[in-house]
Symmetry: C2
């Protein structure tokens, strides 16, 4: 007898889960229905800033697999279908279809992949034309329509996280004068402030005005109703377009209403096989769940396409009768702002303190290539290590070409719970075009060893 | 009472050891004498191809620390001093100074950092003008003198290892028509032949003629005694200049004559603190020792500046009364041939077989960036995993920008003895300019997991 898998949400996690389940079970064994509220599936939201900036030409370039490809594999992908209610006890979901008709659909297995929703503070004027989020392809298209429909002028980006800095780059490439307003002392609060300061300085050099400690109070519109400026407690910034990059929150209202377990950051709680805790027939993954931070031991909400894809793969394996688990994350992220590469993994100083850890922290300057090799660029590496044990706790890198992906060295070392002393003898690739003879990560590890020793027992 | 440290060889290992020992012990406690046969110290031999090719302008750019800097730190660096004999029982070395005078110098502690010597087969004509090795700065200067003293014409590189391919690039940049002759079926025998074939194809595309299975029989000279051609069993290749890139052997004649222990590949044998086995007052490191391959469990001779520098650091720490060890290598190397990046770590198929391991091997094609991001380039990743356990055994990567240093992910995973299944959930840096949502290394790990499963118990 055929079972039915219902998937809520047709982006990375949902479609990866559906595809993997289909690989393991044919259509005769498993019916797969995906309800997607919007009109796109399997797309790279991470690519939206590059589409807006013009590096990616076509919206469809961001779509990894077309709806037709999914349907050819007997995945019944239904756009414009919004799930209104979950009934775990009844094994069914209430769906409103694109014609507005509501009906219940039963499931044997359910995957919740509802993703995240951008933070949208209730500011006066926030819904004015010219104010844009950049979460979905529809958002991206609307922003591009705004940009192409007017002369480039002043742009304000609110928020200085990954999306904020990537959108600042995109708007610079569109010819806008860009101001980035953010709450903290320094941009990129995923870094320690001293490393965030390097990003600010680099953005200054790119002509982006970065305003910290900014409290946005209102978005002012003109007589035509369109955005004109962004008001803060300290003054007003002219704006022909505003982009919101204030982060996201798990979209778990449906799950919450159904009584499914949520964590402190609002994400669904799952077991290691990505099953919702206490529910053997419901899986969840991607931007709507919390994941274990392997370094701090805490649950965190981290919205990243790479986790979403892994979750989908693991969920699909479980749904298909196989076995796979997601052990957790170490908190790796890498971002680009024009020529600047910014990366981090593990804990910031504040995270380490909050986790009850005592630590040493070192920062070194090195270069991307042997110093004598052409186009060697400066690179700053900050490294945190636990006091006494010397275990690596985190690494942050700010530099140019070749800086960002170097964080992977530390990400793997964190996963393996290496000490900074163990890291000093890592056998990393060396050739003058790619690294000084001591890779910058090794230089940082050596300095961290000395700091651990100096901190004493 | 002051002790005397004698260091034989003033390049990476020797000077790093001397510098680190000096950091730990002042001149009042430790006298440091370095005997260097040549006239340069602390230089990057790895940079010579880029100096010859023109990317690095000045010879002195390759010198990391000047003799004056060493001498200011009370390191008595003596150029033109050749050590002729070691007398471990007498704690002394026989030295011929730059004036030709021979005398014995006593030591309390001795560091042997005699490096490696290029393989120079006894071919007819091999000593002719125009035939060059590229091991030392003097070699590099002589080659540059040859190149600048004639019109660019035909060049033959003998050998297709790292030096061979890097010199092929350098000669192309100098405007030469380059032929590379090598013994194996494919260039870069540090890779499996299927990956070496990718290098050959790329070099073909750069206009380098790569001739495999070539047995060089003679170097033919003209009436002026200069090189004219390279003869092989299958024909002759015109050559206005010849570069030898046939690898190196440990320069351990002195050590052998003194009865110090050598391994199967001719390198000195040390303990984990880099002390020569059986000799508490003698350390050795760099290109003249054998190191433990952590993956195969065998001792190997690997001449690489990055190991040499680490050894020097560890030796200097031990000499200075501290404690540090070198656990071994996993066999990482990365190389550049024009836009091509070639990297490897761990075992090739032949190495794994020789080590008694059974394994699966997979190869995948991916890209350096998200497929939709501009300038995404193809990347081939080959991965070996142990049968049953799924432990990672080796990774080889051939691609373009961003390919080479990706091997570090596998290098750290090898060090941590991770399985390919553990690797599939590694939290690697992801952003569209730097990686597809599944990093190529993760794609390879996923395929390797499937292969391990398919290979059965």
């Amino acid at each position: 007898m055929s079972e039915r898998l219902v998937v809520i949400g047709g982006d990375a996690t949902g479609m990866a889960a559906a595809s993997q389940a289909r690989r393991l079970k044919g259509a005769g064994e498993l019916e797969i229905v995906v309800f997607e509220r919007g009109h796109f599936a399997s797309y790279s939201a991470c690519g939206i800033p590059y589409w807006v900036g013009g590096a990616v030409r076509e919206r469809d370039d961001l779509i990894a697999r077309t709806p037709e490809e999914h349907r050819e594999r007997d995945i019944d992908l239904r756009f414009g279908h919004q799930v209104l209610e979950l009934d775990p006890a009844g094994h069914r979901v209430l769906v409103r279809d694109d014609g507005g008709t509501e009906s219940w659909t039963g499931y044997d297995k359910l995957v919740i992949a509802t993703g995240a929703r951008p933070v949208r503070p209730p500011l006066p004027g926030i819904d004015a034309p010219g104010v844009h989020g950049v979460q979905t392809l529809d958002d991206g298209q609307e922003l591009i329509d705004t940009l192409t429909g007017q002369e480039s002028g002043a742009a304000v980006v609110i928020g200085a996280g990954y999306i904020g800095v990537e959108m600042a780059e995109a708007l610079i490439q569109r010819g806008y004068r860009v101001t980035m307003l953010h709450r903290g002392a320094e941009p990129m609060s995923t870094l320690d402030p001293d490393m965030g300061a390097l990003v600010r300085k680099a953005m200054d050099g790119m002509g982006i005005t970065v305003v910290g400690d900014a409290e946005v109070t209102a978005i002012r519109t003109g007589a035509d109703g369109r955005v004109r400026a962004v008001g803060t407690a300290d003054g007003e910034y002219p704006a022909d377009v505003v982009v919101l990059g204030l982060g996201v929150r798990p979209a778990t209202e449906l799950a919450a209403a159904a009584g499914l377990p949520l964590g402190e950051e609002g994400g669904l709680l799952t077991d290691l096989a990505m099953r919702v805790r206490g529910h053997t027939d419901i899986w969840a993954g991607g931007d709507c769940v919390e994941v274990l931070d392997l370094v701090s031991g805490r649950l965190r909400h981290i919205a990243l396409g790479t986790h979403a894809n892994k979750h989908g793969q693991i969920i699909g394996t479980g749904v298909g009768g196989g076995y796979a688990t997601f052990p957790g994350v170490v908190g790796t992220a890498v971002s680009k702002v024009c020529a600047l590469e910014v990366a981090r993994t593990g804990l910031r100083e504040a995270d380490a303190t909050a986790a009850g850890l005592q630590f040493v922290s070192v920062t070194i300057e090195s270069t991307s290539r042997a110093g004598y090799y052409p186009d060697a660029t400066p690179m700053t590496v900050k490294m945190l290590a636990e006091r006494r044990t010397g275990r690596l706790l985190g690494t942050q890198i700010v530099g140019q070409e070749g800086a960002g992906k170097r964080v992977d060295i530390a990400a793997v070392a964190l996963t393996a719970r290496m000490t900074v002393e163990q890291m000093t003898t890592l056998d990393l690739g060396y050739a003058p075009p790619y690294s000084p003879v001591w890779d910058p990560v090794l230089v940082a590890a050596r300095k961290a060893v000395a700091a651990v020793r100096a901190a004493g027992w």
